[in-house]
């Protein structure tokens, strides 16, 4: 959905792909699949709302329509639509061009305040401004082709001036990369798809990937220096001496990576999936997202950063990876819930050093992230985990706006279970995601909240497995 030829709906200036705001007049160019109203906070209710979230009508029909073969049907973050005259959500008055009600002065939400994507009936994403932040710096994108689902969530680092644009650009770039690769058959690993007109493009992109990744300096992330904070006012501590040799640093880095791997294996579900096609795709997607993030640098040179979590679902196989502290969970209907991603946070670093979890997660600077997409990022290779769903359940990706209120996998599974029970027949990825967002807002909505869900239901009639050469077409 290239908007390069589309003028700004407000002022007519030409806009470029990837722009979230008109360079000329500042109007938001975001898709109209979002709803202006933010969910009403339920007075810090500890329980889920019994009523289904009024979300179904928010879904843009086009999002749930038939997937096309364009390979970019779901890169929906940049679509331009004519702005319709809007009524104030608070009083029904007319919303003026300046974005505020002409009667009561209430700020009319911008589309970005509440973004919804529903690429297929079994996959949905919701990204919400929350209650305390002035804008939504989270972003979500998802695409589905047959039994393949691609989901991306990014959380802009709040200290940067245009981190909302960074996260939007990141999810768009990541999803475009993955859908292109999918169209080219890269995910299926079949090399005989040269007749596909898309293949050339995708291969060219994969050629570019290493370049995009190697120019990211591999600095000692354990120092935590200049670590942008995801949503915490605390800075990471510093843990290394300045007069060390490179060899010592290298040895330490290897030891650190090894201990992080051990932490991951101890804490996470699934298995290390570093060498799978899906993992390579995630790495490529993160690299593409990182490049897009860097392109959002302001004219003043202020660069934004964001986190990254993405998942590739093929049949009942899930591969998920992250950079930063946005997470992926596997929440089966029965059986133990599992976290699939390890936060790149100071708390994780402390865990890797042997500190007990409870102590590490409450330590000073525990929430400071140690990796991110953006300038000065130490590295941007997601740590992929692979899991095979052996029963029905939910794959859930989220920003810390959700998991800050519900971190433990079993707690989140219980929350989702309660949500599906409350929704009953209405239960679906979109209604459930809306319910979880409303629940987080009910707990204060201190941060932007983003939830992406895919419903997996491995059964005899289930889609073909990962190795099926027809997958992803």
């Amino acid at each position: 959905m290239n908007v390069a030829d589309n003028p700004c709906p407000r002022c007519g200036a030409s806009t470029s792909e990837g722009e979230q705001f008109c360079e000329s007049c500042g109007s938001e160019l975001t898709a109209a699949q979002s709803a202006p109203a933010e969910p009403a906070p339920s007075e810090s209710a500890p329980t889920l709302p019994a009523e289904p979230a009024e979300s179904a009508e928010r879904a843009e029909p086009a999002e749930s329509g038939e997937p096309t073969d364009s390979g970019s049907e779901a890169t929906d973050a940049n679509r331009v639509d004519e702005p319709a005259p809007r009524a104030c959500a608070a009083c029904g008055g007319r919303v003026a061009d300046d974005g505020y009600c002409e009667q009561c002065g209430a700020r009319a939400g911008v589309p970005r305040d509440h973004v919804v994507t529903v690429p297929a009936p079994w996959v949905a994403g919701v990204s919400d401004r929350g209650l305390r932040h002035r804008r939504n710096e989270d972003a979500v994108a998802a695409a589905v082709r047959d039994d393949v689902a691609l989901l991306v969530v990014c959380d802009g680092v709040t200290t940067a001036p245009n981190s909302d644009q960074a996260s939007a650009a990141a999810v768009t770039a990541a999803l475009t990369m993955m859908t292109d690769a999918l169209a080219a058959g890269i995910l299926a690993g079949s090399g005989d798809r040269g007749t596909d007109p898309k293949a050339g493009t995708a291969e060219a992109r994969t050629e570019v990937l290493p370049t995009a990744t190697v120019d990211v300096a591999r600095e000692d992330v354990a120092t935590g220096e200049a670590a942008p904070e995801a949503d915490s006012d605390e800075a990471a501590g510093t843990g290394s001496d300045s007069d060390r040799t490179d060899a010592e640093d290298e040895a330490d880095e290897q030891a650190r990576v090894a201990s992080l791997g051990a932490v991951a294996d101890a804490a996470l579900g699934g298995v290390d999936a570093r060498d799978t096609a899906a993992a390579r795709l995630l790495t490529a997607a993160a690299a593409a997202a990182a490049v897009a993030v860097r392109d959002t640098v302001t004219p003043e040179g202020e660069a934004a950063s964001c986190t990254f979590v993405a998942a590739v679902v093929v049949g009942n196989e899930i591969v998920a990876g992250n950079v930063g502290d946005s997470r992926a969970y596997w929440l089966p209907d029965t059986g133990p819930a599992q976290l699939l991603t390890l936060d790149d946070s100071w708390a994780t670093e402390l865990l890797a050093r042997g500190m007990p979890r409870a102590e590490a997660e409450t330590a000073y600077g525990a929430h400071a992230i140690t990796r991110w997409l953006g300038p000065d990022s130490p590295d941007i290779v997601p740590r992929p985990r692979r899991l095979t769903a052996d029963g029905p359940g939910w794959l859930l990706l989220c920003s810390d706006g959700l998991w800050n209120y519900c971190s433990e996998p079993q707690d989140l599974a219980a929350l989702v279970g309660a949500g599906t029970n409350a929704l009953g027949a209405e239960a679906g990825p979109l209604t459930l995601a809306e319910t979880l967002v409303a629940w987080a807002n009910g707990h204060g909505g201190h941060d932007n909240i983003t939830v992406a869900l895919a419903r997996l239901d491995p059964s005899p009639a289930a889609p073909a497995p990962l190795t099926d050469p027809t997958a992803g077409v």
Partner: protein, 426 residues
């Protein structure tokens, strides 16, 4: 075509339960062009000078020179007239027995005006209300005037008219024309002339001696001719349930314009600001809105500039309720600065009034506060004027003593200039 911009300076963050929002709005006009040249209508200038008996001697000669200097600055095509005032008003130019009129400026009419002015002589009393009433009629004699400006000069108190007669005349003139008022010498009353100038959207000023009169008139007329926007109004929209606490011009001078409000619609009030040249003025707008829950953002005011009913610029004053003390306790420097400048003007005027009334304790206190405010805000002009009236022991604490035997002219200069502000670096 003139361009306007409106820039808002404020701290939009309010603590839980707060209702009052303050903002400084800088309105800047560019491309104003010359008076009467916008195509929307003609400009008219009126020179109104005191020719009462007290003006005899040097002063009546100076008045002739000053009025002539002003006439020389009137651009071709501008309608103009000259009024000579004492206890009654006389249309000195154009002289057409029984007729009230204005003429368009050109070489010939300017020359005729100079000759009429040369016949001015001093006699009679002072009744400024009659001058204003005639001025209104003179302006009304020309249809479709887009811009009406007068220079009014006096040297004495309004002795031959009751205060209520003057007040009625001022009220009748309000909105009819704009007037810059000047007093020469020490025998006029600052407060009296300020009342007229304020009502007629103009300035008040002291001309210390007869010699500086011509330069002042020339200056005033040149400025007026440089105001290509005949009349702009500030509009302030507040949300339903909200109210305007005050609207105050704070630069270049302090002027409370709250009471000038007229209704545009139930939520919007218009405040006339007179003619504009290429210039920038600051307004302090304070509104009260119903408090909202923490995390809510809403618009507290739209501040607009309208010319001829068209809104040419808009600034948004916002309210954002927050639980973050580090945000809500910040005071916007522009708001703080101009709050201080407004208090400075008040302190000077109150201090001088108390001094005139013999209340030395209040005078010392208020002028001391003025010294403190002027020093703190870097208003050097006010500081230097204050130092001619008080001995300063400590600027920082505002500790002063009243000077004995001060020059009346210094006190009047301090009074008339009390509303001048220094700009804040935003």
């Amino acid at each position: 075509m003139a361009q306007f911009t409106a820039d808002v300076y404020q701290n939009e963050f309010l603590p839980d339960g707060a209702t009052d929002v303050h903002a400084v709005v800088t309105v800047t006009c560019s491309g104003a062009g010359e008076a009467g040249k916008s195509g929307d209508g003609d400009a008219a200038e009126l020179i109104v000078v005191d020719t009462s008996g007290s003006m005899s001697g040097d002063k009546i000669i100076a008045v002739r020179q000053a009025a002539t200097a002003a006439v020389d600055q009137i651009l071709d095509g501008t309608w103009f007239a000259v009024i000579a005032g004492n206890h009654e008003a006389r249309l000195a130019f154009p002289e057409r027995p029984g007729a009230i009129a204005m003429v368009r400026a050109d070489a010939g009419t300017r020359d005729q005006a100079r000759r009429a002015i040369a016949t001015f002589h001093a006699d009679g009393g002072t009744a400024m209300g009659t001058w204003l009433r005639l001025a209104t009629r003179v302006f009304l004699s020309v249809p479709n005037l887009q811009q009406k400006h007068a220079i009014v000069l006096t040297d004495g108190k309004n002795q031959h008219e009751t205060p209520s007669a003057l007040a009625a005349a001022v009220a009748a003139s309000r909105g009819q024309f704009q007037a810059d008022c000047r007093g020469v010498g020490v025998d006029w009353e600052v407060a009296e002339l300020r009342t007229i100038a304020t009502a007629l959207l103009g300035t008040v000023g002291l001309i210390p001696n007869a010699e500086s009169m011509a330069a002042e008139f020339e200056d005033l007329m040149r400025q007026s001719m440089g105001r290509g926007v005949g009349a702009a109004e500030l509009r302030v929209w507040t949300p339903q349930g909200g109210q305007v606490l005050f609207v105050r011009q704070v630069a270049p001078t302090v002027e409370d314009i709250t009471s000038r409000r007229s209704e545009v619609n139930p939520l919007t009030g218009a405040y006339p600001t007179g003619a504009w040249g290429d210039e920038s003025r600051d307004y302090h707008v304070a509104v009260r809105v119903p408090s909202r829950t923490v995390g809510t953002e809403q618009l507290a005011a739209r501040v607009q500039v309208a010319v001829g009913g068209q809104v040419l610029a808009q600034g948004l004053v916002k309210a954002m309720w927050s639980a973050d003390d580090s945000l809500t306790t910040r005071i916007n420097p522009a708001v703080a600065h101009y709050t201080g400048q407004a208090e400075l003007a008040g302190a000077i005027q109150e201090g001088l009034a108390a001094k005139a009334a013999g209340d030395e304790a209040t005078a010392t206190l208020r002028l001391g506060r003025a010294v403190q405010l002027a020093a703190a805000s870097g208003n050097e002009e006010a500081t230097s004027r204050l130092r001619k009236v008080v001995e300063v022991d400590d600027e920082a604490t505002g500790t002063v003593r009243l000077k004995r035997g001060t020059n009346k002219l210094d006190e009047m200069a301090l009074d008339t200039a009390s509303t001048k502000t220094v700009r804040v670096r935003k």
